[in-house]
């Protein structure tokens, strides 16, 4: 479902151009649960941003679900992100003034889903992550682990084909990290493709495949026996 070929990303902001991704090719099938690993600065986030259609690249091609998404306009990109991709961020990125329910409804607002259906689907997604009873609270009234569960509910509510998470457990303690990984495993078991960045090997153990980045190239790429939670 994800097919990238010879993707190169060069940052030209500083003095010397910096090759963050050097002719990366990668293929991820439907139903996979992939961990992207590697040392700091190796290009993991850069890769994720390109996979998530948040950033552009200098050369190469990207096919998502068989469709060439290499050269989308801003608004085409927005539509693909809205329909096909669910994002989970390291620092949750919830809207502080909105209730949890409204936060989860937001992607559906952008998809023009009618109010009633939005509400039903948001409640269902929140129940799915075990937060069906906190819908009227605001983000500052819940814990970090709960915030990340809200973010996951928001990411899955438009039933995207792939979940993308850049260090989703980076701000969480080890116990809540396991809670989040369990939810990812459950969603993956139900058929959702998951790609996540992590630099913690113990977290990567819960995935089915590891892609190792170093200096902008893929150093290693191997399937593994998933540790089930």
């Amino acid at each position: 479902m994800i097919e990238i070929k010879d993707i190169t990303k060069i940052y030209r902001t500083g003095g010397e151009p910096l090759v963050a991704l050097d002719k990366i090719s990668l293929s991820i099938q439907e139903g996979e649960f992939t961990a992207i690993m590697g040392p700091s600065g190796s290009g993991k986030s850069t890769m994720m941003n390109i996979l998530g259609l948040l950033d552009r690249f200098d050369s190469g091609t990207y096919y998502l679900n068989g469709k060439d998404v290499s050269h989308l306009s801003d608004n085409e990109g927005a539509h693909v992100r809205n329909k096909e991709i669910g994002f989970v961020f390291q620092s949750f990125n919830l809207m502080p003034r909105m209730t949890i329910l409204e936060n989860v409804e937001l992607p559906m607002v952008y998809a023009n889903v009618p109010k009633k259906e939005r509400n039903e689907r948001a409640v269902k997604a929140l129940e799915r992550v075990g937060l069906g009873n906190r819908v009227k609270h605001r983000p500052n009234e819940i814990s970090g682990g709960q915030k990340q569960r809200v973010a996951i509910a928001r990411a899955i509510v438009n039933t995207p084909s792939v979940l993308m998470a850049d260090e989703p457990t980076g701000n969480l303690d080890s116990k809540t990290t396991l809670d989040i990984m369990r939810i990812f495993q459950e969603l993956n078991a139900e058929g959702t493709t998951v790609v996540m960045v992590t630099h913690e090997p113990e977290v990567a153990e819960y995935t089915k495949r590891v892609v190792l980045f170093k200096d902008g190239v893929i150093r290693d790429d191997y399937p593994q026996q998933q540790k089930i939670l």
Partner: protein, 408 residues
Amino acid sequence: MNLRENFKMAIDSVLANKMRSFLTMLGIIIGIAAVIAILGIGNGATSEITGTFNDLGASTITLSVSNDATDSEAITDADVTALKESIPEIERVSANNTTSASVRSDFDTRDALLSYGMPDLQYINQTMDSTIVYGRYFNQSDYLDSKDVTVISEDTAAALFNGQTDVVGEQLKISDNAGNQSDLTVIGVVKGTFQDLQGSFDLSQMPVYAAVPLTTMEKMNPTIKGINSLTIQVDSKDAIESVSKQAVRILETRHDAVGEDWYSATNFLQALDQVDNVMSLFINFIAAVAAIALLVGGIGVMNIMLVSVTERTREIGTRKALGATTGTILAQFLMESVILCLIGGIIGLVLGIFLASVVSNALDIVPNITIGSVLLVLFFSSAVGIFFGIYPARKAARLDPIEALRYE
């Protein structure tokens, strides 16, 4: 994303920072309140003035003889007859002048406004109720024979005759400034109350009022020859301009004074035009003040919206990641600035109406706030919101999603 969602988000965001939103609106509030108050009071005052003029008779022309003219240009009885005969639109002509004099009865002496004129005298003073209470008004024979008769007002009678008002047949002695004297018989008493002109006259402070035929006055004071102003009433407002012109031309011809500019006609339409001119000057001035206030208010809104966009950079990045398009973000921020301005406009409107009614109350006029000015306020507030909101909104909409998400 539909308008309702957008509206709700904008309201939430405005309410999230109540104090800041209020301070931002202040410029708009003050500007709009000032405009509404001043327009309301101005319109109220205009209709008050217009109303007064209409009461006084908008179909009235005043013809006057210039001070530079000689005695031979004074308006005579024959002039009045000629005017009436040549201009069919004329309903009546009142010819009168007023001088000050003192009036003495057997009981008392008072300063008086002495009015002298032609037989239609009773229509002279448009501001006075000249209904006859006792006796009668002058007639043609009083006039032609210069009879020593006078008509006085009720309160004049009361002042001079110990509170008695039915004084027909009583004698009065009148002396004018030049020392000319005359003994007159009261032949009529009129109501003589003055119509209300912005509050009422305190009649006890007024000199008493008496009227005599012009011929009687000329007999008493030989330096008086004719009259130097006429009041002409025409049958319709539309005739005012043409009658004014014709009347001046007739007088000039009769007195062999064509082109001398000694006769002039003024009418209430001209006076109303003047009021309109003053008002429109005033309104233009207010519009300029309002424009400055709205400009300052709008810059305040733009400033706070730019701050808001910067503060919410990460939020904007997240929204874009979740599928918000450029247009959606643009609409969101534009809606926010429009709402800010519109709420400011509405608060200003309410404040302005309140101010207008307080001030109008004090001035004893009715404030006039039209639907038009309300709509104008709503329109202008929104326009200011759009105009000054477009730059910050575009800035938000054009943010690169990844840079916005990375923003600390």
